[in-house]
């Protein structure tokens, strides 16, 4: 029943994304319209996949670092991606895939660095060191990014900032294809970690005694969630709040078992981001809002509501 509701909501969100837009498309022409087929459909699918990836990565990371306030971008990836993108703009690299690839490379570099810091001198990832390392790497990358932006010309600066705020305006079927090829591995790794994540919520030592290979679970979850986030940022820039509020919303509605929570967070993230992107396209048409602003404007009040419900019960 709940899955049916979530599935219907997903279909509805995708449907709205196809129907709504600055250019009116008559109902009868929806199937044959180039605008729908070449612009709105790939864009809606991409928004759904990225939102799902962020929701799932957020849910897994919150259990990994044992902190309900964790967000996929807490671990320094957004800083690394931003730095990669701005570097590419500043050095005048060109080509259609340059920005996504540069952002992806930056995110991966940040991930590797944070992972190294997360080992904290031992052989195992330490969640606290991961958070601190993520914040440190993110701050450092942010400082370098700002330094580059402050030296850049006005047009470049605007491009860089807009890109960092995120959006799906450049979506294409190629992008959908790349994401569809890339996502399955990290998705499967995270879903396979669902039960061990339930154990990790009790703490490291109880989880071990219940049979979890804590070190391996942490490595896999960190790398898989980071790979999802890095791809998301490469596709659409930094889109906040999806990875934070969606897991919480799903926890409030569905409980805390990760076998249920993780798939639900994927669907929920997809729904939220598809709707947010539709709003971003429509409200100030023919111009667009960065979708990250919409997720923040919608997400924060929803989050406040959920927190009230959660603390009240």
């Amino acid at each position: 029943m709940r899955w049916l509701g979530l599935g219907l909501a997903a279909v509805l969100a995708l449907g709205l994304a196809l129907v709504l837009g600055p250019t009116p498309v008559p109902w009868a022409a929806l199937g044959s319209s180039d605008i729908v087929r070449e612009l709105r459909l790939p864009r809606a699918l991409l928004a759904f996949l990225v939102g799902g990836g962020l929701g799932l990565a957020g849910a897994a990371l919150q259990a990994l670092v044992r902190n309900p306030l964790a967000d996929p971008f807490l671990l320094g990836l957004s800083g690394g991606a931003g730095l990669g993108a701005v570097l590419a703009i500043a050095t005048h690299l060109s080509g259609p895939w340059t920005l996504p690839l540069a952002a992806f490379a930056g995110a991966l570099a940040a991930m590797a660095l944070v992972y190294r810091l997360g080992l904290a001198g031992g052989a195992e990832l330490d969640p606290r060191a991961l958070i601190l390392g993520g914040v440190a790497v993110g701050a450092f990358a942010g400082a370098v990014t700002t330094a580059i932006v402050s030296l850049a010309s006005a047009v470049e600066l605007r491009n860089a900032l807009l890109w960092l705020w995120g959006g799906f305006s450049g979506s294409s079927w190629d992008g959908v294809l790349v994401v569809c090829l890339y996502f399955p591995v990290p998705l499967v790794v995270l879903l396979a970690a669902a039960r061990p994540l339930d154990l990790l919520a009790l703490g490291e030592e109880p989880a071990r005694y219940l049979g979890a290979d804590v070190a391996r679970v942490r490595r896999r979850v960190y790398v898989a969630a980071s790979l999802l986030t890095a791809a998301a940022v490469a596709v659409s820039g930094v889109i906040g709040f999806v990875g934070l509020i969606v897991p919480h919303a799903m926890r409030a509605l569905w409980g805390h078992q990760h076998r249920v929570l993780l798939p639900a967070a994927f669907l929920g993230g997809g729904i939220l981001l598809t709707l947010a992107d539709t709003v971003a396209r429509v409200v100030v048409a023919p111009r667009e809002l960065p979708v990250g602003i919409v997720t923040a404007l919608v997400g924060v009040p929803v989050f406040a509501l959920l927190m009230r419900r959660w603390t009240a019960s």
Binding site: E205, Y209, H256
Partner: protein
């Protein structure tokens, strides 16, 4: 030895990284089915470290810990969790959870990667809930439980693992007399009737003396004495280890320790 040992710890020593002294020095311990042993000692004497070494969480620098004849490090964590269940001293639930789901976590070592829980798993959970007298709490949230109920739920989770060795790490430190006695009686029954090997870590000398077959007294990581309670819990040994004058009386043929009011009292 003609009977199978479930846990066999021999001459283990362990030093935490960066520590100057050994947390464990040359400690031995062996349990078979139906044995109920207690580990006693002051704070920091190595009790919890002994559990970690015995169950392969820490690798001893010397000696070896074996479970069912194989070194602890030779088992995977999942395999170990089917042999030995631990009720750790501390844990925190990051997320709210209901009692039944908490106990179901004990089935993790028996579940396949993608498979759902089978009827056998739910049956094991039901038995564990029943055995620990918490079946009526199954749908309650964990945080609404009293201290005694919460400890019984954690014990039920350990039993849901269907282990052969049960380790209880200071399970009654926050319980009143009745709940404490209920837990000790339950642990003793598990040893007698279900033939579980039970290793109890506790600060309660008197209860350990009455419930355990053998007692291991630790001090600063080393073994002070190891054997039947009457042999181990002598006035000299207890006073030396805990640094406080005591009298030892007998009750139902077991030693009972009475701490004296001050160093001038009695003795």
């Amino acid at each position: 030895m003609d009977r199978e040992l479930i846990l066999d710890v021999r001459g283990v020593s362990y030093r935490y990284p960066g520590a100057r002294t050994e947390a464990l020095h040359d400690v031995a311990l062996a349990l078979g089915a139906g044995d109920f042993h207690a580990v006693l000692g002051p704070n920091g004497s190595g009790k919890t470290t002994l559990v970690r070494v015995a169950l392969g969480v820490l690798a001893p620098h010397q000696g070896a810990a074996r479970l069912l004849g194989r070194p602890a490090a030779g088992w995977s964590r999942r395999e170990l969790a089917r042999i030995a269940a631990v009720v750790p001293q501390r844990e925190e639930n990051l997320f709210p959870q209901r009692v039944r789901d908490t106990v179901l976590l004990g089935r993790y070592p028996h579940l396949s990667l993608w498979g759902a829980e089978r009827p056998a798993d739910h049956a094991a959970v039901a038995r564990a809930l029943e055995g620990c007298d918490v079946a009526h709490l199954a749908d309650r949230w964990i945080w609404t439980l009293s201290g005694g109920e919460y400890q019984r739920v954690r014990l039920a989770r350990a039993l849901a693992q269907e282990p052969r060795l049960l380790v209880l790490d200071e399970p009654t430190s926050s319980l009143d007399v009745r709940h404490e006695m209920e837990l000790f009686e339950l642990a003793r029954r598990l040893a007698d009737e279900s033939r579980l090997a039970v290793l109890l870590i506790t600060h309660h000398l008197n209860l350990a003396a009455r419930f355990a077959d053998r007692v291991l007294l630790l001090s600063e990581g080393g073994v002070v004495a190891h054997g039947p309670p009457g042999d181990v819990l002598t006035r000299e040994a207890v006073e030396r280890v805990f640094g406080w004058p005591v009298a030892i009386e007998r009750f139902q043929d077991r030693p009972q320790m009475i701490p004296l009011r001050s160093r001038k009292d009695g003795a």
